[in-house]
Symmetry: C2
Subunit: 354 residues, 2 copies
């Protein structure tokens, strides 16, 4: 086990990583607790939850991204008020990215902010979303448009939960892990040398700590995403989010991988990324998603990027693309040119498949 | 004019005070603006708003505390999204406490926080609620239960708006001003020596800056209300809020005055506050509200204090009471004893009236 410290301006957050972290730290949480989880996690871990948190009130969200909604948020508040949650209570977010995002927002708003402890149960939440304090719900079709920067006082990252994850959930987490490999040379080295172990849980446990260490450093430097450091964590996300809005079917992590794959085409075409490095990243991506979809209407889907809240000007698309090992680059393109290049990439993939 | 700096941990907030502040600073606000105001302010100042902010989108809330609701908050978000408000836009909160509270919360949540400038138009908002970053809505009958600590980048405090305020609104602001006199010896001196000028706008302009200076100091020290310094600003508010929940009819500031009057009885009875000092504060209070209500069911109403979010334990009531000039004291009482004393005070007032 290892403790990683995230010294954010607003709060010092301690991330307990490794096998045994749940048994050691979840049982030590003091004061009145209010548990938020989802139906998948609850079905699998009801016994463990009751054993660990006794009769603490538990709110169970329906599993899935649709729960990141206004209605779910206020149903949580209803129960918090009914159960007499006070300023000194602690919210425990036990679940994947959706649970962490909405529970974090609920904790940030309730009585203007009560403690929250994140216990991520998916690979994606463990390597990325549970750390750094970004919380949100979706609204009116805009992802994460309402939220807060709100640091958890503790994050408990235990591989215990990964054993029950379906392969698709692992792929989803690998989306963010491969993103880290494109901005952190250490993680790039580890993944490149162990590309046959990407689905090996023991291997993932170690890489998870590497990713968290990277994120903790970046968030310590740029908690509120204003100086540019934190922006690098959005690599692959511009196109990923646009496809996610348009196609919906796949999960966030899968779209990050697909988005990175498409943006690599642009980065190469624009002379930002060397071919051999782009090839090595593509090789990692296709270890996780064998067949990158050659979307027939990729150009149209790419136009959804204008709804990304990261874009101040709807006519310009900003994206973070890989440049060289450990280095990324912020590329800004007129939306029409961007969409055209995305369309070209889809055509290229189609050609390769023939 | 005078600039008061509030150096909060999260953001440096500049408070421009004095006649002419609106003309000087509101016209200088750069970038895309989104104005939030209420129907009273809009009816009086539509021309000024259009002249100052051009065709910036303007959301007009129905005037009154009922607008501090979930529905109003999400109507604001609807319009922000429809108008394409981005991360670099600025929310302008032009109105009293209700507008400032809900607009501040909307700005804090939209895209995880965009800039907000507070332009308070009531005396209460100018001396108190627009400064310090407390934002909130009411929910399920609990006042301010959902909110955020979110500092405005600027506050523009201009007496220009006070000239159109009804006397009742002045009384309401005087509620908070007299609260400041009970925790700040300078303000106590000023009010005691000028108790005949309490409704004089020129006099109020100067006292306003004194109150803001006091608040800025306290919030700089204790932004998130955790170390105790900020708690002193709740003097009179425990009973004030309880009565507000129970009786509803009067405004927040009036209830703060009534609450302070009732709590002075407790502070004296418990030997915390000397009689002559309590008398001098009562004299100030009755300059603003001549007849303090001798509520028939005051004891029952006081039990509402258990719903105050400041109370962690529902069986204990915490209140900040005047001790001596410039000094307050946190008194904790079992709720039954507290309610009984409040009932006694009502009886005493009834007796004095006979």
């Amino acid at each position: 086990m290892e403790d990683i410290i995230l010294n954010a301006q607003s709060l010092k957050s301690v991330i307990h990583c490794g096998a045994g972290a749940f048994a050691t730290y979840a049982t030590k949480l003091g004061g009145k607790l209010f548990i938020i989880t989802d139906s998948n996690v609850y079905a699998l871990y009801k016994g463990l939850i009751e054993k660990t948190f006794g009769n603490a009130p538990t709110f169970v969200l329906p599993a899935g991204e649709k729960s990141k909604s206004r209605n779910s948020l206020f149903k949580i508040f209803d129960k918090m008020i009914d159960c007499g949650v006070t300023r000194s209570s602690t919210v425990v977010a036990l679940g994947g990215g959706v649970v962490g995002d909405i529970a974090g927002l609920a904790a940030s708003m309730y009585m203007r902010g009560i403690k929250v402890v994140q216990i991520p149960t998916t690979l994606l939440a463990q390597v990325d979303s549970s750390v750094g304090g970004k919380t949100a719900i979706d609204y009116k079709g805009v992802k994460n448009v309402l939220g807060a920067f709100y640091q958890p006082s503790e994050v408990i990252v235990d591989p215990l939960f990964l054993s029950t994850l379906p392969a698709r959930e692992l792929r989803c987490g690998l989306g963010e892990i491969i993103k880290y490999s494109a901005i952190d040379c250490g993680i790039y080295g580890t993944l490149s040398q162990n590309s046959d172990k990407l689905f090996d849980l023991k291997f993932l446990e170690n890489v998870t700590a590497d990713c968290i260490r990277h994120k903790a450093k970046v968030v310590t430097e740029d908690e509120r995403d204003t100086t540019g450091a934190r922006k690098t964590l959005n690599l692959g996300h511009t196109t990923g989010h646009a496809f996610e809005l348009y196609y919906k079917r796949k999960s966030h992590g899968e779209f990050v991988l697909i988005g990175t794959y498409y943006e690599l085409y642009i980065a190469e075409k624009k002379g930002i990324c060397e071919s051999c490095y782009a090839d090595s990243l593509r090789a990692l991506i296709t270890k996780v998603i064998k067949n990158i979809p050659a979307y027939a209407d990729a150009e149209k889907a790419a136009l959804m990027a204008k709804f990304d809240k990261k874009n101040d000007e709807q006519s310009i698309v900003s994206m973070i693309v890989p440049k060289s090992v450990g280095e990324s680059y912020e590329l800004k393109l007129p939306i029409a040119e961007y969409a055209k290049l995305i369309g070209e990439c889809a055509e290229k993939i189609r050609g390769e498949k023939c």
